[in-house]
């Protein structure tokens, strides 16, 4: 692994561990990622017994070269964006660990688990109340949004 920066080395290691021991319902195509370590596509299945059972989602992780000091940019992409009170229809996710509460001790695995659990604890499939307005006005990068974390229950 010589010649890699600490940040690349860490991503390489995270990828290896995610391929070997992924959280339930999470799969990655490591061949695609190895071509560009800074952008990952992760497949996520809705957990059984929840409102999202049987659905498939795709998460996109974008890392800056300051990772892990800088949080990854995480959005849902692809044809199926989960309908959830914290997920906007453009794929942006309102989750505090992705911005204000990010810590370098977190990892892709930890973020995936948080998102799985966020989806799993949902009781009613609906978009955030300000969805229409937000999607029209927001920056492309969800990290540029000043989020209000209103509700911890879902």
């Amino acid at each position: 692994m010589a010649g890699l920066s600490p940040s690349e080395r860490r991503l390489q290691k995270e990828l290896m561990s995610l391929v070997k021991e992924p959280p339930p319902g999470v799969t990655v195509d490591s061949d695609v990622i190895e071509r560009n370590l800074l952008q990952w596509l992760i497949n996520m299945d809705g957990a059984s017994g929840t409102l999202y059972e049987g659905e498939n989602f795709q998460l996109q992780f974008k890392f800056s070269n300051k990772y892990p000091f800088d949080s990854p940019e995480v959005t849902f992409v692809g044809p199926n964006i989960p309908v959830h009170p914290h997920v906007y229809s453009n794929g942006h996710i309102c989750l505090s660990i992705l911005t204000d509460d990010w810590s370098p001790a977190l990892s892709v695995q930890a973020v995936c688990l948080s998102i799985v659990s966020m989806l799993s604890s949902c009781k009613e499939k609906k978009r955030p109340p300000d969805n229409a307005f937000y999607v029209k006005t927001c920056n492309k990068n969800p990290k540029k949004t000043k989020w209000w974390y209103h509700d911890d229950s879902v």
């Binding site: 080395r9 860490r10 290691k13 290896m16 070997k20 021991e21 000091f69 810590s103 001790a105 990892s107």
Partner: protein
């Protein structure tokens, strides 16, 4: 684009690194010397990475990159400069001096017949010698020839008299051999650490490395630093790990240190200081398992070695006890400046893992 092609025609040993032809890798051959170069563009100016060979021309490179914005003109001017500077250096070398060096070298080879190897470079600029000590450890010495003989590289701990140049190769070599003899007790001690303890650092110990970081288990280790020239003295012991564990070792050492016996075997004395029968052996690794980060690895960069250094900071929260490199933790605490305070030479903030208080010295 046209210019880039001209550049490739003029310097055929350069290869473009990208399709826009703004970065090049390869060699410049000037006065029969190859200079490895990596040319790119920064802020519209040609930018050349300075490596060992180019470092003598650092000033010229800085100067020329200010004048020439076009990479072709820049390389033209640079090769001209290097060419004029190196040819004058060649002229300075005198046949007399070479004859003298060769005589000295020949005599040296004849006199010391038990050298393991002894090679002089074709340009008569360096002699590389390897020799075995009484315990069959190999020691290497490189002598630079520049008017006089001077020790350029060696694998022993440093000493003042190594820096002194000499007119005789034999005198220099004698200094080296005498140092090896003096270092035998030290080398023996270090070998015992390496064979009878779980050494975390250095990864591949060299005679120069006068410290060993020895692990007792996955969470606690000690850095033992020995004075190579006085190995029978009390070494410095620095315990690394959660405080609740290191404290008991510290108190053991401070109560036992007064009974240190300078005449006894240093290795046994260190064990007695620690109240141990022997050092715990290195556990055998289970290679099948990939864990995100294991004990002893920094919880920010997920690796144990960063710029050759191991993590040194331990979270004081007993239910966390994660370890961090000083550099990693510092960079994180600085990046969340709003939550970080500085007192004297320490930063105080939240542990990235458990969010309890953690402090970090300024690196």
């Amino acid at each position: 684009m046209n210019e880039a092609i001209q550049l490739l025609l003029k310097f055929p040993s350069l290869l473009p690194r990208n399709g826009q032809l703004t970065e090049f890798d390869g060699y410049l051959n000037i006065n029969r010397t190859d200079y490895e170069i990596h040319l790119s563009q920064v802020n519209g100016k040609p930018f050349l990475e300075i490596n060992e060979k180019l470092s003598t021309f650092r000033q010229d490179i800085d100067h020329l990159s200010d004048i020439y914005t076009n990479p072709l003109n820049f390389l033209d001017a640079l090769s001209e400069t290097i060419s004029s500077k190196t040819s004058s250096a060649i002229k300075k070398n005198l046949a007399d001096f070479y004859r003298q060096v060769l005589t000295e070298y020949a005599e040296f080879r004849e006199f010391y017949i038990n050298l393991q190897s002894c090679v002089i470079t074709p340009d008569l600029s360096e002699v590389s010698i390897t020799t075995l000590d009484e315990c069959d450890r190999q020691h290497a010495l490189t002598v630079a020839i520049d008017g006089t003989f001077r020790i350029a590289r060696h694998d022993l701990p440093d000493r003042d008299d190594f820096a002194k140049p000499s007119a005789s190769l034999s005198v220099l070599y004698e200094t080296f051999v005498k140092a090896i003899e003096e270092l035998q007790p030290y080398l023996y001690l270090m070998d015992r650490f390496d064979s009878a303890a779980w050494v975390l650092d250095p990864e591949t110990p060299k005679p120069k490395d006068c410290y060993r970081r020895i692990a007792f288990d996955s969470s606690i280790s000690v850095v033992i630093t020995v004075d190579p020239w006085k190995p029978d003295g009390i070494p410095s012991l620095q315990f690394l790990g959660p405080e609740r564990l290191t404290n008991s070792f510290r108190s053991k050492v401070s109560s036992n240190v007064e009974n240190w016996d300078y005449k006894a075997d240093t290795f046994d004395e260190i064990l007695r200081l620690l109240e141990m029968e022997h050092f715990p052996p290195k556990p055998t690794l289970d290679r099948g398992e990939v864990v995100l980060f294991s004990t002893g690895e920094c919880c920010i960069c997920f690796s144990s070695r960063l710029n050759q250094k191991l993590p040194e900071i331990v979270c004081t929260n007993p239910s966390c006890e994660q370890v961090f490199h000083v550099e990693c933790l510092y960079q994180w605490l600085v990046s969340i400046a709003a939550k970080t305070r500085q007192t004297f030479n320490e930063l105080h903030g939240e542990c990235p893992n458990c969010e309890k208080h953690i402090s970090c010295p300024l690196p």
